[in-house]
Amino acid sequence: MRDERSLFEELCLPHLDAAYNLARWIVARDHDAQDVVQEAYMRALKGFKGFRGADARAWLLTIVRNTAYTCARKYSHVSNMIPFDEALHSTPADESVPESFYEERKRQLDDALNRLPAEFREVLVLYEIEGWSYKQMASALNLPAGTVMSRLSRARRRLRQELAGVQEANVQNEL
């Protein structure tokens, strides 16, 4: 019992940053992401007896992902997890510190990501940051491989459209 519990900590705690990053990408709010990760670790501990796989990180992240969705259903007031948070979406009022072009684009990227459906953010973070293959995503998300391919492709396209929209709006504001 003790060994199993130590093993759990040894295998799962090192992936805390990855777990938080994934949750934060999917639910898009810091506080909710923390709740999701805590709940996911509780579930992982309960299910740990059944874990005989080799890849604790992928196993844990799949639990985080599933927990993010069930939590979102529980708090249905955040509906489809596309929060519209004034602080997140308004441009900063204090313009005294000029942003570099890159910083500005980076912030626009954050905003654009927040406007995407959670399903799109999910495939983006799993592919681009966690480095999962289409096949791994298909199995963890329980989707056909072809759906993973088209979802990721649509996510990228939509993200680029969102970003292009922001830039267009900026140009129009300046005119």
């Binding site: 519990r5 705690l13 670790y41 080799a54 990227l109 973070v125 289409y134 096949k135 492709s153």
Partner: protein
């Protein structure tokens, strides 16, 4: 392939996730179609930007404490003596098994492992002598991953920059004692460092460090793969290399990656 189909497959093509047939067809189409080529170019540019700018969130420090508190304290340690007296017959059996295991691990495995390491050193030295370091020359795992996938039944973890100063220059496949192994070649201060990797199911190795023919050799296993690292020099940066692999590997275990579609 027409533009519509090419556009459908374009992102998967750039991800190196298409099967060989579709991959070639998209490639052919891009050669002949400037419009799609420019879309592909834009997508590539966006990918570079996204890879650099996508947010990476770190867990707030209090989260770790919250989780440790939520999963509760470790159950108390049962003392060894109380365990023994409760399970005496089992304990004798277990003692015999443990003792034989220790003997086996001490006297048998390390010798085998050292033999394997000597082999790795020979292969490393040979690759330097022949100046045949890599078969695929790239530091991009999206190039190396499919290359390995075509040659091996497992997919080794790939890390471009395992520690400061170590850059991946490419990969090749060697055979060590009849088993094909993935070889990643790194350069560090103009020295070549070779990393051999094969599935842990074939021939597990123990964590050891050797000095063989003037080379520093490290062996270790992760859950999915065994590793042998051969380097002329050693030091904290090499330790960091090993630690980094230990921490970051296994996203690309041997189930991966499928290139069929």
């Amino acid at each position: 392939m027409n533009c519509e189909e090419a556009s459908h497959y374009l992102e998967a093509f750039l991800d190196h996730e298409l099967g060989a047939k579709e991959h070639l067809e998209v490639e052919e189409h891009l050669k002949s179609c400037p419009a799609c080529r420019s879309v592909a170019q834009e997508s590539q540019e966006f990918r570079s930007f996204f890879a650099a700018a996508a947010p990476r969130y770190e867990a707030p420090p209090e989260l770790r404490a919250r989780i440790l508190a939520a999963i509760g304290p470790l159950p108390p340690k049962q003392t060894f003596l109380s365990f023994l007296s409760a399970h005496r017959p089992m304990a004798y059996g277990a003692a015999v098994i443990v003792l034989s295991l220790i003997l086996a691990l001490t006297f048998v495995l390390p010798d085998k492992a050292k033999e394997l390491c000597s082999l790795a050193v020979t292969v490393h030295a040979q690759s330097l002598a022949d100046n045949h370091l890599v078969d695929v020359s790239s530091d991009d795992q999206r190039v190396i991953r499919p290359w390995f996938a075509a040659k091996l039944e497992f997919s080794p973890p790939l890390i471009n920059l395992p520690a400061p100063g170590y850059s991946l220059i490419g990969a090749r496949v060697n055979v060590l004692r009849n088993d094909p192994v993935a070889v990643c070649v790194y350069e560090h201060k103009q020295e070549i460092v070779t990393l051999f990797c094969w599935p842990a199911s074939i021939r597990p190795v123990l964590e050891r460090a050797y000095l063989i023919e003037g080379y520093h050799v490290y062996t270790w296993s992760s859950s999915k793969c065994n590793y042998i690292l051969v380097s002329k020099s050693s030091g904290p940066s090499l330790d960091q290399f090993v630690d980094s692999f230990r921490d970051r590997v296994d996203m690309f275990g041997n189930q991966l990656p499928s290139t069929t579609y």
